[in-house]
Symmetry: C2
């Protein structure tokens, strides 16, 4: 921990809030990028709504339904899908706060199973992982990630592997996570 | 309305409950069919979660989040998408209680815009409409439906049009709404 020059310690709670805020950044930036792709008619890719189980709905006024009890569900698929260059696109996006490795518990086994299965059907399927501390966002082909997980019993993948096997996603003002640029390089090389 | 032989009128409320229950049937049957397709590795097609705006979340216990205030959002895309035969599949499903016509207010303009846009990118896009009273479920190509809507100022499409331009979807025990059978006929004729 870096202390102030006068010896005060920086408060942990501030750090937590900042990291928490940043925790939403990747999703927000991908959504902005998807909006831009849509506005340019480049691709139609959306984030799926967060799956919830709705238990109780009140109707305080005509035509106004208020959900008063609901719970988060474990997602059975990935967060994003859509169509690009006539191909079905499917991916999951995760942020990683560690400087050294990506913990596998961040991705549900269901989601890996889903990525495997859409790949078998001809999808362009991948994972986007952002290392917050390095401000680096990688695209990793789903099957490469799945093979890596199968080949090693550890519960995390070291950062160095992403540097070697991942593809760095560029960022611009209008396309904060321009992953289709990387998709073009990785999956459509011959057509470019 | 059909009355009992002794002259009593059948109660409207009973009819409403029955129709209400049936109102969920199409979604349930499509989900069952999708589960079957998935189990056979024929296609990976899922219903998207209902979009809600979450306002308040309580944590009554560690690791247990309870949503206590949320609202339904107008969907900006369709309910179902996925991959089949390497193609991106996208559709919306609606039930219709009228015997004479399908009211267009059942489908949001956003959803039609979405179907148009995925079609442009090479999707297999359609609408599934069930006429509850006839127990008939039709698949209609998205662009055919959109052209029909554009060609006529009326706020509904007559049932007869669905008989002429729609494709009746078969139903079996394991595949209550076997729409991929119809997709094969309509979109993959040459390959069959």
């Amino acid at each position: 921990m870096v202390n102030y020059p006068d010896g005060r310690k920086s408060t942990v709670s501030t750090v937590r809030v900042a990291a928490g805020r940043r925790g939403m950044e990747l999703e927000k930036e991908i959504n902005l990028t998807n909006d831009y792709y849509l506005s340019q008619d480049k691709a139609v890719i959306h984030k799926k709504p967060t799956p919830v189980t709705i238990v109780q709905v009140d109707y305080p006024a005509r035509n106004k339904a208020k959900i008063t009890e609901a719970y988060f569900k474990v997602p059975s698929t990935t967060d994003y899908n859509g169509i690009y260059r006539g191909k079905y696109i499917d991916f999951e996006a995760k942020e990683c706060r560690s400087r050294t490795s990506f913990p596998l518990k961040s991705i549900h086994p269901h989601q890996l199973e889903h990525l495997k299965s859409v790949t078998r059907h001809g999808a362009v399927a991948f994972v986007i992982i952002r290392f917050i501390e390095y401000d680096e966002t990688y695209l990793i082909d789903a099957m490469e990630m799945i093979s890596r997980i199968a080949s090693d019993a550890r519960s995390s993948i070291p950062y160095s592997w992403f540097r070697d096997c991942g593809h760095l996603i560029p960022s611009t003002y209008l396309k904060p996570v321009d992953y289709l640029h990387t998709v073009d390089e990785v999956y459509f090389k011959e057509n470019n």
